[in-house]
């Protein structure tokens, strides 16, 4: 693998960097140095992979979607099953890696932000498993909408801290987590949930998520002896997508990132950062984001809480600019249809996030040849979304 960005300043082309208050420069440097040392330490890498295997259930399955392939026609469809991870999504890969790093750094307390609660649950989980204290920042609006995940976090021993600033959702929870960290960086490790934030987070989270793509490569080669023609992944912050794409960047494989178009990219209610956003700074990083003409960050909207984020990881901004990855967007309705189709045809209820990747793939696969193949990353399971989907589908009746 010779793709070696970001550079030492954390830049992916012109994106990335460290746009943070001075106070965070020291803890970021500490993390960067510890990370480099850890990544060169075979015993750390070994512990990380051991935990993925013995605790989180990796390698995750690689499923040939025979019913679906036959139903849709066109290329063969394979599914990478991140929904089978402990706690139900790819989020744990990263949380585990970072928590091991935090522990190695001697930090006994972690903080995390969460929207729907998936990363909050993953963080609370690894904190419990490694004997760390955890605080999870969560917008008050999200706390109300996601009571079960709040309860899960508390069961796991995390302190859930309600955030009442701004719109009381993920962006605000992230701001608040950063604020808390600024004041408490000496003994707290901030465990970011996606490939966003200041350097070295985008790189670190990618490196802890690339196991998705690494496994996929082995699995498809074992299955068909050749690489797939296309790979699809949904993009919120972009961690499952980059984890899947990264090991394929230098291969002849078309990579497609799928954003949330919410109620449509021509309405104000969407979260299609690349499709409709522009360059700027969010949460410490230069990247694409959704903003108004004055540079005020706007509220995103998506039915899927995990894609409901106004920014995107800087590496994606770079991969978009360099045209290595194609970014598309999918509406709430299209995602819901795809979710139902996968459930019926394959017995897999995906997260609504993942259903965005599925929807885009389903649109395109029909025009491909039977001797071609695609992989879709099923980033998480849909259990967490059942009441949302139930409400939407029953309204529609």
């Amino acid at each position: 693998m010779s793709v070696t960005y970001p550079d030492s300043r954390g830049r992916f082309g012109e994106y990335g960097g460290q746009f943070v208050p001075e106070t965070l420069m020291a803890p970021l440097k500490e993390i960067d140095e510890s990370l480099q040392a850890a990544m060169e330490d075979p015993s750390f890498i070994e512990a990380y992979h051991q935990a993925l295997k013995d605790y989180s259930g990796r390698p995750t399955s690689f499923t040939y979607a025979d019913q679906l392939s036959e139903y849709l026609g066109g290329a063969k469809i394979y599914l990478k099953r991140e929904d089978l991870n402990h706690t139900g999504a790819h989020k744990l890969n990263n949380a585990l890696g970072q928590a091991l790093l935090a522990k190695r750094m001697g930090k006994e307390k972690i903080i995390a932000e969460t929207g729907a609660g998936q990363h909050g649950v993953a963080s609370a989980t690894v904190a419990a498993k490694l004997g760390l204290e955890s605080k999870v920042f969560m917008g008050e609006k999200d706390i109300e909408r996601q009571q079960l995940n709040v309860f899960r976090m508390k069961l796991l021993g995390a302190e859930v801290i309600p955030v009442s600033s701004g719109n009381k959702t993920l962006k605000d929870a992230t701001n608040e987590a950063i604020r808390f960290w600024v004041a408490n960086c000496e003994d707290h490790y901030y465990l970011i949930g996606s490939v966003v934030g200041p350097h070295p987070y985008p790189k670190m989270v990618r490196d802890f998520q690339r196991v998705i793509g690494d496994e996929t490569k082995d699995q498809i080669l074992a299955e068909q002896g050749s690489l797939p023609n296309r790979i699809y992944a949904c993009v919120g912050g972009g961690s499952n997508a980059i984890g899947m794409f990264y090991p394929f960047l230098e291969d002849e494989v078309e990579l497609v990132g799928v954003e949330a178009a919410g109620k449509g990219v021509d309405t104000p209610e969407h979260a299609a950062t690349i499709t409709k956003g522009s360059d700027g700074i969010i949460h410490g990083s230069k990247t694409y984001l959704m903003q108004d003409e004055h540079g005020q960050i706007t509220e995103p909207y998506s039915i899927s809480a995990g894609l409901d984020y106004p920014g995107i990881g800087p590496e994606h901004a770079y991969l978009h600019a360099s045209k290595r990855v194609r970014y598309e967007s999918v509406t709430d309705d299209e995602a819901l249809d795809a979710l139902q189709l996968l459930s019926r045809k394959e017995g897999i209820i995906p997260a609504i996030e993942s259903a965005h990747a599925l929807a885009q793939a389903f649109k395109e696969v029909k025009d491909m040849d039977a001797n071609q193949s695609i992989v879709i990353n099923v980033s998480g399971r849909g259990d967490k979304d059942m009441s949302t989907i139930m409400n939407v589908l029953q309204e529609g009746e």
């Binding site: 746009f19 001075e22 420069m25 020291a26 701001n175 003409e293």
Partner: protein
């Protein structure tokens, strides 16, 4: 990097190098007109430099008081351009002290760097402070600042450690020392180790060294002035102003409210 040999407007306007009082206000809070008057009131109350905040949707270096002030200002439609345009109005009414525009980086990027510095210059704004730009990301800003004769104010924190020297040596205008880790906002106690930190900063800095973050009592003001060249007071000032919110918005009630603001501030800093 060597300092420009031409004196900047900031240096020209700054009357002294010690005992500085640097208040922070949020443009548009409680209203654009009130902000102009508040600037003058602060000058009358002894302010040596005015820090004028531009409201931002995601002020992650700020505590709740300033966040809320920004929220109020945004609701009135305040933005970077309009903040800048307030300053000539202040000047025309007699504001003579240097003005530092405080804004997060994202609005700056949207505005355009060159355009911004040109407008700062044209609107008699003497300096710029961007709280989410550390030294390492400031190269471009510095170039424009130099080109347009605007000072770029740097921050330095107790945990800047090895970087303290670099930041202090490159500082222009004044150097903003963060009194403790954390975001802006009042604090009951200030860090104990602050004196040695400030001494170190002063030893490298050729510009005044002011302390900010959490200063909210007269006692703290005096304590900080012992170790530094000045104090920056933000959240406390916003709170004082917000205490007279409705009167300040009303044109008729404003003059008496401004008097009360002045009185409270004089008590705080004298």
């Amino acid at each position: 990097m060597s300092k420009s040999t031409v004196q900047t407007s900031f240096e020209q306007r700054l009357q002294k190098e010690k005992d500085l009082f640097i208040p922070f206000i949020m443009s548009g809070d409680p209203s654009p007109a009130a902000t102009v008057e508040l600037a003058l009131t602060l000058q009358e109350s002894g302010a040596d430099i005015l820090e004028l905040g531009v409201p931002y949707s995601d002020p992650l270096a700020d505590g709740p008081t300033i966040q809320e002030a920004a929220g109020r200002a945004l609701q009135h439609g305040m933005n970077l351009k309009e903040s800048i345009e307030l300053v000539p109005k202040m000047r025309s009414k007699g504001l003579e002290i240097p003005v530092v525009l405080f804004t997060y980086y994202n609005p700056v990027l949207q505005y355009g760097l060159e355009q911004l510095f040109q407008d700062l210059r044209e609107h008699d704004i003497d300096a710029l402070l961007v709280p989410d730009i550390p030294l390492e990301e400031s190269v471009e800003l510095k170039e424009y600042a130099h080109e347009f004769g605007v000072e770029l104010i740097s921050l330095v924190a107790p945990n800047s450690e090895a970087r303290i020297r670099k930041i202090a040596e490159q500082a222009t205008g004044f150097l903003y020392c963060v009194s403790s880790l954390g975001v802006t906002g009042e604090r009951k106690e200030l860090s104990q180790d602050i004196s040695s930190f400030l001494e170190k900063v002063k030893s490298y800095s050729s510009v005044p060294v002011a302390v900010g973050f959490g200063i909210s009592t007269n006692e703290q003001v005096h304590l900080m002035k012992q170790y530094s060249d000045g104090v920056i007071i933000g959240s406390k000032i916003i709170k004082v102003i917000n205490g007279y919110h409705d009167e300040l918005v009303s044109e008729s009630a404003r003059p008496s409210a401004l008097k009360k603001v002045k009185q409270e501030i004089v008590e705080l800093v004298q």
